[in-house]
């Protein structure tokens, strides 16, 4: 869901030249990006690329080494509880509150947001409505500790949403999910971004997930954003090469080209019916991603001019 006039709105997240290092170990080496209201943004990168560090800095849980960060118009490091009331946070490893019942826990945690309610944004959300939205309506009276992994994660999302946040952080939301649970979870994220005008920043190392959920993908590698854009933009423009395979007289050929259509046209003009086994394979986002990540992991300092996809 992209907003219609993004330039007129102030960004929900604005990060400029964000740097983070532990001693000599540089984790973030000048990260820049923005998130606009209602946008679903995926921070994609291999393990250890600095995704969690970035999100923890934005959540106000970690002090950055350098750079400017603004979240909902405030620097997270000096933010107060009224600011915190506007955030929803879903971490990957909650195991807490096993003895509480689902509804009881949501009631309790929701009550913290009541002082921060506003006429245009009623806090907390209605618990029954929320349970239905994440698909836990039949588990309201179950103990949290007895939920399955997928149900538990839905509860975590519900807790992240209970305060009707302006901004939701999802850190590696589907790690360890089976395909069914993963699809259900994706549906939940789609619904909430559409209904609540909630900006979502999610981290993932799963490309497929980024592609399914996000309006825009930021690829983080070697401590920098090495590419960003929609999934289609990234696969089209970043690498832009298409592989064409065919056979002629029992011989097989492969050719990589920028313009597959005209190449194939020429091929047929030249050989006509002699061409068999034609296969045109556009490089997938995965190819792009793997290529980018590999390049940055082996040569992190190399500048790559013209790589970024600017919207």
């Amino acid at each position: 869901m992209s907003s219609l006039s993004p330039d007129l709105e102030t960004p929900v997240i604005a990060v400029r030249d964000l740097r983070m290092s532990y001693g000599d170990h540089v984790v973030l080496d000048g990260v820049d990006f923005e998130a606009r209201p209602g946008e679903v943004l995926a921070l994609l990168g291999p393990n250890g690329a600095g995704k969690s560090t970035t999100i923890e800095i934005l959540e106000g849980f970690r002090r950055r080494s350098d750079g400017q960060v603004s979240v909902l118009g405030v620097d997270p490091i000096s933010a107060d509880d009224a600011w915190r009331a506007r955030l929803g946070i879903v971490q990957q490893s909650w195991r807490d509150h096993g003895r509480w019942r689902v509804r009881q826990l949501l009631d309790h945690l929701g009550a913290f947001y009541r002082p921060f309610s506003a006429p245009d944004r009623i806090r907390p959300m209605d618990v029954d409505d929320l349970l239905a939205r994440v698909g836990l309506q039949h588990h309201a009276d179950q103990k949290v500790g007895s939920l399955s992994g997928g149900q538990r994660r839905k509860l975590d999302v519900a807790i992240g949403l209970i305060g009707r946040p302006d901004l939701l952080f999802l850190d590696e939301p589907t790690t360890g999910f089976d395909p069914q649970a993963r699809r259900e979870f994706h549906d939940v994220v789609h619904r909430l971004a559409d209904l609540e005008r909630t900006t979502v920043l999610l981290t993932t190392h799963d490309l497929d997930e980024a592609e399914k959920l996000a309006d825009r993908i930021l690829i983080l590698a070697g401590g920098r954003i090495v590419a960003h854009g929609s999934a289609a933009q990234l696969s089209r423009e970043v690498e832009g090469r298409t592989e064409v395979r065919w056979s002629r007289d029992g011989e097989h050929f492969v050719h990589a080209t920028e313009d597959a259509t005209s190449f194939v046209r020429q091929l047929f003009e030249q050989y006509g019916a002699a061409i068999g086994d034609l296969e045109v394979r556009r490089s997938t986002l995965e190819d792009t991603y793997m290529a980018l990540v590999q390049r940055f992991e082996t040569e992190p300092t190399r500048a790559v001019p013209g790589l970024e996809v600017v919207r």
Binding site: L109, A111, P115
Partner: protein, 293 residues
Amino acid sequence: MTSATDPTPPDPMFNAVRLGLRRGAIEMMQSLTTRADQIWIVLLNGIFIAVLVFQRDSDLGGTGLSLAGATLPGLIGMNIVMGGWMGTAQLLAVEREDGTLLRAKSTPHGMLAYVVARVTLAVLNTALGLVIFVGAGLFLLPGLTDVPISGWLMLLAVFVLGMLATMPWGAVVGASVKSSSASFGLSFLPMVLLVTISGIFYPITGMPDWLHPIAQVFPVYWLGAGMREALLPDAAAAAELGGQFHTLTMFGVLGAYAVIGMIVAPRVLRAMARKESGSAVESRKAKALQGWG
């Protein structure tokens, strides 16, 4: 209770304190309705009450009083150390590990409510032990019905001061350790050691002299002594060090632990809370799993 239509939202801090109290009460109810906790409560207190039964006919250091009569106040004092120091250390370490603390940190004024809830639960748990021991004592020890009202008031004063003296230090241990098993070791073992040398189950005068000053540095001894003074007749003083109760020193030592603890603990807790993050929880979980494997 604020209704949804209430036009004035509650004050956030007051709201959080109220929610912390409610949270402590909810957790107490959950504990009382959980089978594992029920078994633990029955087993542990059963053992202590059995000790009282066996000691009923023994003599307290030649005073003509029942040894069980002196052990009961000792148990009440020890129970405060268990609830205030060990319970707090253990729960804090466990809840850092499972993410409860991070959850509190992610919630507006959640840390305030968390601290209030921990205090509430520790006080309720310790009070439950107190009620069990006093109840058992009323059945087993006829002398307890003769305790004057001033004795019960003193018990209450030592109880409150004891909680204040032990909880902050439990929090310091729970906030400093790397894992919940380390917290258990660092809180349970010292406690067993101190209980052994502090004259809880038999008069301290029976221990070697060089152990007395060591025991007197720690609150365990003074909580036992304070409770004995509250519940025993004056004649029982003969079994104490120097043949008398040391009321002022007792309040002084416990008071010092309380004051220093309440200066130190908030700093340690704040430092711990600052460091708490998703990756911190994650790495502790990874270590814990390694430990199991």
